[in-house]
Symmetry: C2
Amino acid sequence: MKSIPKISETEWEVMKVLWTASPLAAGEIIARLTAQDEAWHPKTAKTLLSRLVKKKALGFEKDGRAYLYHPLVKEADCVKAASDSFLDRVFGGSLTPMLAHFVERKKMSSEQIRELKRLLDRKE
Amino acid sequence: MKSIPKISETEWEVMKVLWTASPLAAGEIIARLTAQDEAWHPKTAKTLLSRLVKKKALGFEKDGRAYLYHPLVKEADCVKAASDSFLDRVFGGSLTPMLAHFVERKKMSSEQIRELKRLLDRKE
DNA sequence: ATGAATCGATTACGCCCGTAATCGAATGAG
DNA sequence: CTCATTCGATTACGGGCGTAATCGATTCAT
């Protein structure tokens, strides 16, 4: 039973970069973060990298003086953990009301609707 | 545009009690919390009530020496805020992959499946 | 080779959170 | 009346988080 370390809001942004491509050096990670959101300060990103290493969400190998970081936890596992936690917390663990919440108030293209129905059909 | 105060994990439990029934005195709130989960310490619950008042998630009226607490934010608004935040954070705001995630890996009764399909039909 | 730039490590700091204990006022029991 | 109980308010405290600056070591440019 692997226990997923708790990954905070901003840390999650960093993880997403490394789930998309890894291993990467800090500089490259920061480049990709600022590409999406101007407001990223390099020092802040470095701090988050250190914290993620400390909590064993990231590992690294040395490449000369620099580090190449890579995920130690799988995105799918983190998504599952976050999803289950959300479902419990906000909807008391009840799946259908949660799904209904989104279906009822989010716009969906008919394409998306068909897609989802197909998934439901396959479940029965 | 009402800005929903940020409600933490344990604070959410307290809010749920008051969304279910209000106004309630602290003692009654604590009784309902411990009814669901033995581990609630009264002092802790009091602290949370104070914090929720301070952040304007709860209001109260005095009933003699005691307070009767009631929500100042609607459950629906908090659920919406938490849901949107979850969707953005974990699924980058993409609805269908999020719905697919749950539909694909949670058990659903055929009743639940039909229910959800019905909602989808009504959307088209 | 010497100063500037860069790297990760360490330190900083204020706020939130979970978890309570303490305090002063008021009330209830006897 | 007086003491114990109970109320909300205040204080506590260690850890996480967002945000970053500083430090010591190394490397790069000139």
